[in-house]
């Protein structure tokens, strides 16, 4: 009798523990009170981020994409969803980036002199001897660095430029990947005609590496795009990770044997121009040469015609444009419009492209000015 009651009590406790355990697993990590850190000013924070030394670390970067883009064939990552990448860096020039996929993995290894690309589904290795830029979040900031040699004045210069069009503030602290961070918030001034509500950059309180970037669009409390570490370990890394030996049975190619890829990026056409400034600046350029009429196939100027399905219609940018864009026209000409939560893009029938984090009207105004 007693044993039965004990057994029942144990069973009840076990069930409860199991359900609670599932709940704990489902809880988002880092939910808790904000860490208390010494207060800092935006100037100090920006300065410390600019002077942050790259450190050896590894981590998992998660990209949460809610931009509302269509699922493009050949580029599934652009569609809404969550993508993860694992990164390693030794704090110098070497790094490793791995993109796990359901049925394989793409790996990029930069061993200091060569960039290796490995694709497990095709078992090909691509070797690029030149020094390509490793894809790491903090490298974006190196490009932004102004010319000033002194980081303090660089931070001031940068802030001065940014503050013409936005409000910059440090909005408390938060946890990212289990580490306390400062949250730097950039909010557009009310005069800016933009689709964005604010941009948040979280900087690690200890190393001052930017560890999370969130872009918020108007009318939504969830970030439209968030790139951030879900797991981050700072410390020396195994040097073996930054070497790559092509495995047996793999096809090894040099990058210059590759007809596409690099050229596509290099041939990004006549230099794009910027119309406007601040949040409502619009980038205007031309489609890469391959997509231009005459090189790959004739693109008619009338929308909706000649969608040649045989052949490489999925790789032809113009066919994609016509398939996914909304046809539109105005005094500037005619073209196809792509609207997402954070930005708008316009591709005209004569190959001009305008992109900006702005409503469609600003875009068409800008492309009219640029003519």
């Amino acid at each position: 009798m007693n044993r039965r009651r004990t057994a029942l009590a144990a069973a009840a406790a076990g069930t409860v523990a199991g359900v609670v355990g599932l709940g704990v697993l489902a809880m988002p990590a880092g939910a808790g009170p904000a860490p208390s850190l010494p207060p800092t000013s935006p100037e100090q924070l920006v300065q410390s981020v600019l002077t942050a030394k790259p450190t050896a670390m590894n981590g998992t970067v998660q990209v949460v994409n809610k931009l509302g883009l269509p699922a493009l064939p050949g580029l599934p990552q652009a569609a809404d969803g969550t993508t993860e990448a694992r990164v390693w860096t030794d704090g110098q020039r070497r790094g490793r980036l791995s993109l796990p996929q359901n049925n394989g993995e793409k790996v990029y290894v930069d061993d200091g002199s060569t960039l290796w690309q490995w694709d497990s589904t095709t078992r090909t290795v691509t070797r690029s001897p030149q020094h390509a830029e490793p894809a790491k979040p903090k490298d974006k900031h190196e490009g932004v660095l102004p010319n000033a040699t002194d980081p303090a004045s660089a931070a001031q210069q940068m802030l001065a430029t940014v503050e013409k069009t936005s409000t910059v503030s440090v909005d408390g602290t938060d946890w990212v990947a289990g580490r306390p961070v400062y949250d730097l918030v950039l909010t557009p001034k009310p005069t800016e005609r933009t689709l964005l509500r604010e941009v948040r950059v979280a900087a690690d309180s200890e190393t001052r590496i930017p560890v999370r970037l969130s872009v918020f669009a108007n009318g939504s409390s969830d970030p439209a795009l968030q790139v951030g570490f879900t797991q981050l370990t700072i410390g020396p890394q195994d040097p073996k990770l930054f070497r790559f030996t092509p495995p047996p049975g793999a096809t090894v190619r040099n990058s210059d044997e590759q007809p596409q890829g690099d050229h596509e990026k290099a041939g990004q056409s006549s230099r794009p121009t910027v119309v406007g400034d601040g949040w409502d600046s619009v980038l205007i350029g031309r489609l890469p040469a391959q997509a231009q009429p005459g090189t790959s196939r004739p693109v008619t100027s009338r929308p909706g015609t000649s969608n040649d399905r045989h052949g490489r219609s999925s790789e032809d940018p113009m066919a994609l444009v016509q398939r996914f864009g909304t046809p539109t026209s105005g005094p500037w000409g005619s073209g196809w419009l792509f609207s997402t939560k954070v930005g708008t893009a316009l591709v005209t029938s004569d190959g001009r492209v305008a992109v900006g984090a702005v409503p469609a009207q600003v875009l068409t105004e800008a492309i009219g000015q640029a003519k």
Binding site: R3, V19, A26, G104, Q231
Partner: protein, 294 residues
């Protein structure tokens, strides 16, 4: 109801005619259950069929590899096996984990309690001088042994087939690194144990269902339906908050053992989640068996 079960329990457990001293040692009981369960023809047949899976996959890959040049990225995970035999056991396990291994677990769980009830032999077990906690433990052990054997069969046949049919010099991981034979075998072992724990979780829930019914078919139907419903739920975007609760959600991470360095987050999460399901399933089973009328 409590009165009825209480009196039944008094009749079953606390009669003076059942002295404690005659209880058999636990080891012998476990051993007899395991040998009895594993010697069943249906268990043997299902294990043999599971062993065919890696062989069929290997032959398929070989034929496909010889037949035509590979189109880039077209057939996914199976292309990785060509010339890389030690991937075969892990990929065979991941294929079987989708449905076949859970079915074996469910079948064995259905036999354990519902099957006994259908034959009328459960009654004898319930009134036997064995505590019901111990009865649940022994039955669960038998089911667990079948599942572990099934996963081991797939892994062993996979390793042998991979080495013989496909051939291998160590293993080339998804990440493009080469690992030695020993390290590859460790990875296969991790995958085998991980798959076993996942199927144990399914079987524990099936065992709970099994305790409530006397029709083994119901257990199979519930398990199959559960697997399908979980699959549907995880594919509905607006229910993504539900996904961490779904056991099947973590199953693709079995392929993480083929990455280098091996990411452990997904695997550990999977073990914890399976542990929770295991705990719930066994607790409900225990509660039901303890309160069952003799």
């Amino acid at each position: 109801m409590t009165v009825a079960t209480d009196t039944a329990a008094v009749a079953a457990g606390d009669t003076p005619a059942t002295p404690r001293a005659v209880q058999a040692p636990l080891g012998r009981m476990l051993w007899s259950e395991v040998t009895w369960v594993l010697r069943r023809p249906r268990t043997i047949v299902s294990l043999a069929l599971l062993g065919l899976v890696p062989i069929v996959v290997a032959i398929g890959v070989l034929v496909a590899d010889r037949g035509q040049a590979r189109a880039p990225g077209s057939d996914g995970v199976f292309t990785s096996i060509a010339g890389n035999g030690l991937m075969l056991p892990v990929i065979a396990l991941s294929v079987c984990l989708a449905l076949l291994l859970p079915l074996v677990g469910a079948m064995s769980a259905a036999d354990a309690l519902a099957g006994e009830a259908a034959h009328g032999t459960l009654r004898a077990l319930l009134i036997a001088p064995v505590s019901r906690v111990r009865l649940v433990g022994i039955k669960a052990f038998g089911v667990a042994a079948v599942v572990l054997t099934a996963a081991t069969v797939i892994a062993v046949v996979g390793v042998v087939t991979g080495l013989v049919l496909v051939g291998s010099h160590g293993m080339v991981t998804f990440s493009g690194t080469s690992v030695s034979l020993g390290s590859a075998l460790v990875r296969v072992l991790v995958a085998t144990l991980w798959a076993t724990v996942q199927v144990w979780a399914v079987a524990a829930v099936a065992l709970a269902v099994s305790a409530f019914t006397e029709h083994p078919l119901v257990v199979m139907a519930v398990t199959l339906a559960g697997a399908i419903v979980f699959g549907v739920l995880s594919s509905i975007p607006s229910l993504d908050w539900l996904q961490p609760f779904l056991l099947t959600e973590g199953w693709p991470s079995i392929l993480d053992v083929l990455r280098d360095p091996m990411p452990t987050t997904g695997l550990l999460d999977g073990v914890w989640r399976a542990g929770c399901y295991l705990l719930i399933g066994l607790s409900v089973t225990l509660a039901r068996v303890v309160t069952k009328d003799g």
